[in-house]
Structure formats: C-alpha cells, structure tokens
C-alpha cells in the first residue's frame, strides 16, 4: 500500500491533505461535515454564512445538468444561495466541529452586505473557532445585488470589504473570485491590497444549461420561469485552470485554493501543478458522495511516488512556467499523424473530421477501409487523433517548415 505525506501548508495553516469541501450544499451542517471529516477530507469550507438580516428563501427545484452522449453530468447548474440555517446554528456547528476535529482544517465562508456585516461576521466565526476565513465575493445567484458576484467584479468594493474583514479578524483569509469577469488579476490584487492573504478560484460560471423546447423556458423551471445561475463540474475545469494560471502569472507567489470540476486525483494534480495548494470540491461530491476523496488521496500518493517527491509542496506550480503566451510558442515545425493500421478498425471518423474540420489531408481507401495521411496537405493539427475511437493515431514524424530558423534539430523538439 502506498503511503505518502499529503499534508500541505496554505496561508500558514497546515492541512493533513489538500482536499477540501467547497462552500456549498455539501458542507451545510454539523452532520455532513462530520461525515466528510470521517471519510478523510483534509479541510472544510463551511457553507457561506450571511448576515442575520439576509433571509434565505430558495427555489424548488434548483439544479440542472448538461449531458453529452451517455455522460449525464458533464456540467452542473445550481441556484442555491448561502447557508439557510440561522447564524446561531451555523456558529454552534463551527464550534462543535473544531472541538471534535482539531487536526482537520475548518474554514468559515462568510458574505456580508456592507462593511459592518463583513466585519461582524469575521469576528463571530473567529470566536466560533474557525482556522481560516474565506470571503465569498462571487456567488452568481444571490437575490441581492449588494452581495455575490456583483460585488466580486468590483475591485474597489472588494478591497473595502477585505479591509473590513481584516478589522474583524486576524485569521488567515482568502478571497473567493468570480470567473464572470475578463481579468481576475485586477480583482485579486485589490483583495490582497485590502488584506486578503490568498485567493480561492473559481466560483461558478453564470449559465443557462438547457432550455425546455416545448415550454420555451430555461431549466430548471420554477413556476414557468428560470434564471441564469452558476455552472460547475468537470466542464468548468479548463476555465478554472486558466484563471489560476493567470493569477500565478499576474501575482507572483500568490497562494491559491483551486476550485472547479475536480473529481479525480489527476484533476487534483493538475490544479496543484498550475499553482493551487489546496483543492475544493463540490459537484463531484454531489454526484458521487464524500467517498471520492479516497481515490483522490490514494491516486495522488501514487503520483507523488511516480514523481519521486515526498512533499506535495514540491509539485505546486511546476506547470506555470510551461504555459506561455501564444506568440512565444515554437511555430517552426509540423508533427504528422502516425496511423497504427493494426489498431485501426476502419470507421473513417478521422477521414470525416479531417475533411470537414481540417485540411482534407486524410485519404480514404474504400476497399481496405483504411486512412492514409497526405503530407502535402497535412498541417499537423492532429484533429484526427482526437476523434479516433481506438487511439490508433499518434504523433509521428516531425518536419521543419520552410520558414523555420536554419540549423534546427528534430532531437531538440519536446513533444
């Protein structure tokens, strides 16, 4: 059995492993959080606690999913806001959890609607025993425009609220970003200037998942109507990784808690490689349960063993330097596809995609039902490899373009 130390320090707090529940329905009360800790989650961001004056009143139903072919849960849309329990109940749950699980990390997510409430909530969750605060500046489905992602896209307001939270608490604090914005760095910088110690990214993406074709209403339908609301799950992982990379480039050394579509240890490793120190999860848990952390932890340990590292820390941000602006990429060569005729089952999908979606380089022999690549036409985009159902097309011969700088050697190319 593989055994590796998964612990990591984030904003000065030591996590037994990087896996946390994100602030959401999965960490809604004491019982749920207790079960999550027992299953082995390293930390919990308790569902966002709001000011007493803000009354939560949720719709029913409140979720929708995007499916593609046989996969029913590519992405997930939800309309829930913040914690529906009373402030007192939430604070009591926090205190009890911290007392019973002193070695696992408890993070209080808070959301005020003015400076006073932010400061007050920060003070209250600190008194309740939280190890860290996350500022929810990013929920896209709040019923108040003084809260949520409307705040999170306004750098000046974010800075002021961060200052307010810091007045209320000395705990390490991260600001949770909305992706419904062009430049996250600007907002993140404002938060750090306001006193935030780190950044959590991303919250959900504003979306309409599906429209009912007969009723002509977005899903889910609430008495004949629907709303735009937050999209999450595997489908948003690419967007999350992109924002995290940009934060790491724009704010050197910033500590990040990564969020967005993590389901497997491979997803988690990707978040770490682009610079996350912890990873927060909700959608995977909503679909499969807390148990998914078992394979995330075990798989990550195996990965550490393969990578010959003893501390997770050693992997943080290793991919950052390898993700560069498009104008800096090497544009001197072409990689041609290599077709394994034994693996090929003769479906012709590469031929269709190459003709209709690329450069008509794949030629089709009707008798043998096998493709051949015409190098005169092929530009090396390798769309063919992506559509092949049996993995018969790989990267083959490398050729330098006529425009390539002289003296270049194929052996120097890293595919």
């Amino acid at each position: 059995m593989v055994k590796k130390d998964l612990s990591i320090t984030f904003l000065g707090v030591k996590f037994p492993n990087p896996f946390c529940l994100s602030s959401s329905p999965v960490g809604n009360d004491y019982d749920m959080c207790k079960k999550a800790y027992d299953v082995g989650w390293g930390g919990i961001v308790f569902k966002t606690i709001g000011p007493k004056s803000y009354v939560i009143n949720e719709v029913s139903p409140r979720f929708d999913t995007l499916s593609k072919e046989a996969e029913p849960f590519v992405g997930f849309k939800n309309m829930e806001q913040i914690a529906e329990h009373s402030l007192e109940e939430n604070l009591a749950d926090l205190a009890r959890l911290k007392k019973e699980y002193p070695n696992q990390v408890l993070i209080a997510s808070i959301m005020g609607n003015d400076e006073a409430t932010w400061e007050d909530l920060a003070r209250k969750v600190t008194e309740a025993g939280a190890d860290m605060i996350e500022m929810n500046l990013s929920c896209p489905q709040m019923t108040s425009h003084a809260m949520g992602s409307d705040v999170g896209s306004n750098p000046e307001l974010c800075k002021r609220y961060c200052q307010a939270v810091k007045r209320g608490s000395k705990l390490p604090m991260m600001a949770k970003m909305t992706p419904n914005i062009t430049d996250m760095v600007e907002v993140a910088k404002a938060c750090l200037e306001g006193g935030a110690d780190g950044i959590a990214a991303i919250n959900t993406i504003k979306s309409i998942c599906n429209v009912d074709l007969n009723k002509k209403i977005g899903m889910p339908i609430v008495n004949g109507k629907s709303s735009i609301s937050g999209y999450s799950g595997k489908a948003v992982k690419p967007v999350a990784l992109r924002f995290i990379q940009q934060l790491r480039m724009g704010i050197p050394g910033v500590e990040i808690s990564g969020i967005g579509g993590c389901e497997t240890w491979e997803d988690a490793a990707e978040f770490i490689l682009v610079g996350s120190r912890t990873i927060q999860v909700t959608t995977g848990i909503m679909q499969y349960g807390y148990r998914i952390v078992e394979d995330m932890k075990n798989g990550l340990m195996h990965y550490m063993e393969e990578q010959k590292v003893d501390h997770l820390e050693q992997l943080v941000g290793l991919a950052n330097k390898n993700i560069i602006p498009a104008e800096d990429l090497d544009r001197d060569y072409i990689v041609y596809p290599e077709i394994d005729k034994d693996k090929c089952v003769g479906c012709g999908r590469c031929y269709i995609s190459c003709y209709d979606g690329a450069h008509q380089a794949m030629e089709w022999d009707e008798d043998s039902r096998r493709p051949t690549c015409n190098h005169d036409k092929c530009v090396g985009c390798l769309l063919c490899g992506h559509v092949c159902p049996v993995g018969a097309i790989s990267q083959g011969e490398i050729v330098f373009k006529k425009t390539a700088k002289p003296g270049r050697k194929i052996k120097d190319i890293r595919l």
Partner: protein, 402 residues
C-alpha cells in the same frame, strides 16, 4: 493443433473499454457485489477506483483482499457471486466484474507493483502441504504476517489445479507463474517434487501444519474401471496442460459430466481439433452445474451436449444411457471416453480421516486443513482464497498472534 488451446480465450480490455465498463457501474451504496464475493475482493471499491482513474489504487484493493486476484479475475464464476446481485441488471446486464479485475491485475503486473507486504519475522514455523489455490493463499497470508512458511508440493511445478487442471486458454501458465512469484517474494519457500511422507514429524518440527491437498484425483465409475480407452478428466486436462496441447486425441470423444471440469474438457477437446465431441450430462439443463460462461464456451465450440442421461452399461466402446425422467435410451460409441464425474482427495494417504464429502475430519492441535478438504463451501478458487483467510486467522489465533 495446440495454437488455439494455448491462446487466452477472452481478450483483455483496452484502457478505453475498461473505462466504458466501469462507467456502466452504478457505484451503489452498500454494493451487493462486494457483499457477494466469498473472498471479500471488494469489487465496488476497485471499480470505483477505476472509474476515478486510480488504477494503482484499484490494484491495491484487489491484491490486498485477494492474494490470487489475477487468477480469480480469469476463472471465477462471477455470475454466481459478485455479478449475481449487480444492480445494473435492473437496467440491462451486470457489470463484467471479472474482466475489470483482469484489467486491474494486468495493470498491476505491467507497472511491476509490489503490493503484498510482509511483517517482520516472528520466528514461528508453518508448513503447508499442497501448493494449489488454497495452499498458496494460506502460505502467502501467513508469510505476510511474519511466519516462516514452507510449502511441500509433490509435483514438479507449483500451482496444483491452477497449474495442471484449468486449461491454458482460460488460465495461462504465465499468470500462475507470476502469482506464485508474488507469494514467494514475501518469503514463502516452495519445495517441489517433495511429497509428504510423515505428517506426524512435520507436526513436531513446525508450530503449525496446514493440509491443503485438494481433491486432486478424478473419480472413476465402476463400469469403466480398467478400460484403456477411458480416462478421468483430471488426468486428461493435466496431460494436455503439461504438454502444452501437444497430445494425440482420437476424432470421436465422449465426455460424461456437466460441471465446470466437464466444460473445460469438452472445450479443450474442440480447441485441440477433435471433430466429434459428445458430452452426456446427468443433470438436465435446469439443474446444470457448470457456470453459464463455461457452458457458453462449450456451446460456442459446437460441442454436442445431451442432458438428463445416466450411464447404465458399457458394451465394448459403446456406452448405454437411460434418461432419468422419461423413457428414452441413448447409445454412444466413442474412441475415447473421459469421465468428469467428481473428484476425491488423497488426504487419506497422509493418515487423515476423510468423510463422504471428501473433507478431513480429524485435524486437531497444530494441524489445520484448508481448501477443498475443509468444510469450505464450493470447490472454486475463490472459495479456496476464502478458506485460506479463515485458516490463516485460525493458525494465527492458535499461535497466539493478534
């Protein structure tokens, strides 16, 4: 013709196909499959690991729970165990758990993983008699607990029925070799060509002795005894496997019996190129003993299977059968007759008492029995593994371990 016999019958999954099959799994709460494995292999957990792309973790789950994981993956009649309760059956058909397990254990092998661990030696000696599935498993389990374990094997190679019984197309010898190597790697010493002659002195020299000699002999029916054209299935399968399929078999063979061993025999005969293979079975199809997969394999090879007949007389090379329920008579003449009508143990040769069920009844003190000769349940590899777990626990308890 041995080529067909020597090639593994069922192809393994590719990475894409194993993901497709794992994606069919409903990831049940309180999964019925995991409750139904006699050896406790926990398919729900390893399929979930596959689903979440943790193949190494899946391999750990299989191997830690089932020391013969790669063998069970191939030979287990999963339809009777894990797959029987599969919730996916409520939609279409059960998950092919055996084949996922095979992918996982092949992956373990390809990655050269060493999953079995070994506690420090505790100085206590245990000898196991027999290196079949039960003997190998109990030896491995005790070695991992820190016991000094030796296995006595009378044959030239270890593995017992795995080595000499289950045909090559269903269980390649290379798979058996690798499983044995894993067990040797954690310290088990296997003494080949070493029959046990004096059980009493073994008991004195060791802290515990485990007899796992199996039901290694094929039964002969009295009317066939001594006929040169009659063999037992056990002897036949042994001969074919040892000679890698290079055996001479006549063109017209009659097999009597309807269990998994009979199915292995008839399928082997067809794969060896025998033209006419007739299998006459005592049970009717609604009480058939062989697993569906094995029966299907025989039918795919176009074996003539005739159910419900019992042999009553032998006239020259002609066997006369009567139907068990209806007035019907069958006569089959064949050049070779193979009997797959049950097996018995030779444990009596060690001075042990054996009952009608071929189970040893007088194992006492530091003597333990494991596998077919114990009250272990069904005569399958997975039950041998289960029995080995029980025996290892009993030995440990007897020797004061925790």
């Amino acid at each position: 013709m041995s080529e067909k016999y020597m090639k593994e019958y069922e192809a393994g999954y590719t990475p894409k196909l194993v993901m497709e099959e794992a994606s069919r799994c409903l990831l049940c709460h309180d999964a019925p499959c995991s409750k139904a494995c006699p050896a406790g292999t926990d398919p729900a957990k390893f399929i979930r690991s596959v689903r979440f792309r943790n193949f190494k973790g899946a391999a750990e789950t299989v191997r830690i729970n089932n020391i013969l994981g790669a063998i069970c993956a191939r030979v287990c009649p999963t339809e009777r165990y894990c797959q029987q309760g599969c919730s996916r059956s409520g939609i279409d058909k059960p998950i092919d758990i055996g084949r996922i397990q095979r992918y996982v254990t092949d992956f373990e092998d390809a990655m050269k993983m060493d999953i079995l661990e070994k506690k420090p030696l505790n100085g206590k000696k245990v000898t196991v008699v027999g290196s079949g599935p039960a003997g190998l498993s109990v030896a491995g389990l005790l070695a991992s607990e820190g016991y000094i374990v030796k296995v006595y094997e009378k044959e030239a190679k270890a593995g017992g029925y795995l080595r000499y019984g289950i045909p090559e197309y269903r269980l390649p010898s290379t798979v058996v070799d690798k499983e044995i190597k894993r067990i040797q790697k954690i310290g088990v010493e296997i003494l080949l060509n070493t029959p046990v002659e004096d059980l009493e002195s073994l008991k004195k020299e060791n802290d515990a002795v485990v007899v796992a000699v199996g039901h290694s002999k094929g039964k002969m029916l009295p009317m066939f005894a001594g006929k040169h054209f009659v063999k037992t299935a056990v002897d036949f399968l042994h001969d074919v496997k040892r000679k890698k399929g290079n055996v001479k078999v006549p063109e017209n063979v009659l097999v009597i019996g309807g269990g998994d061993v009979a199915m292995d025999t008839v399928t082997t005969l067809r794969l060896l190129g025998v033209k006419q293979v007739t299998d006459v079975v005592y049970e009717t199809f609604d009480e058939f003993k062989a697993s569906k997969k094995e029966l299907q394999g025989a039918q795919d090879e176009h074996v003539s299977i005739i159910d419900g007949y019992v042999p009553v007389a032998l006239k020259g090379k002609k066997v006369v059968f009567n139907h068990r329920f209806i007035p019907a008579k069958l006569e089959v003449k064949a050049d070779l007759i193979i009997l797959a009508v049950g097996q018995y143990t030779e444990a009596g040769l060690l001075g042990l008492e054996v009952d009608k069920l071929q189970q040893v009844t007088n194992a006492k003190g530091n003597l333990f029995v494991c596998g077919d000769v114990s009250p272990s349940g069904e005569k399958t590899v997975v039950y041998a593994v289960r029995s080995a777990k029980e025996t290892a626990y009993a030995v440990k308890k007897y020797l004061g371990g925790k």
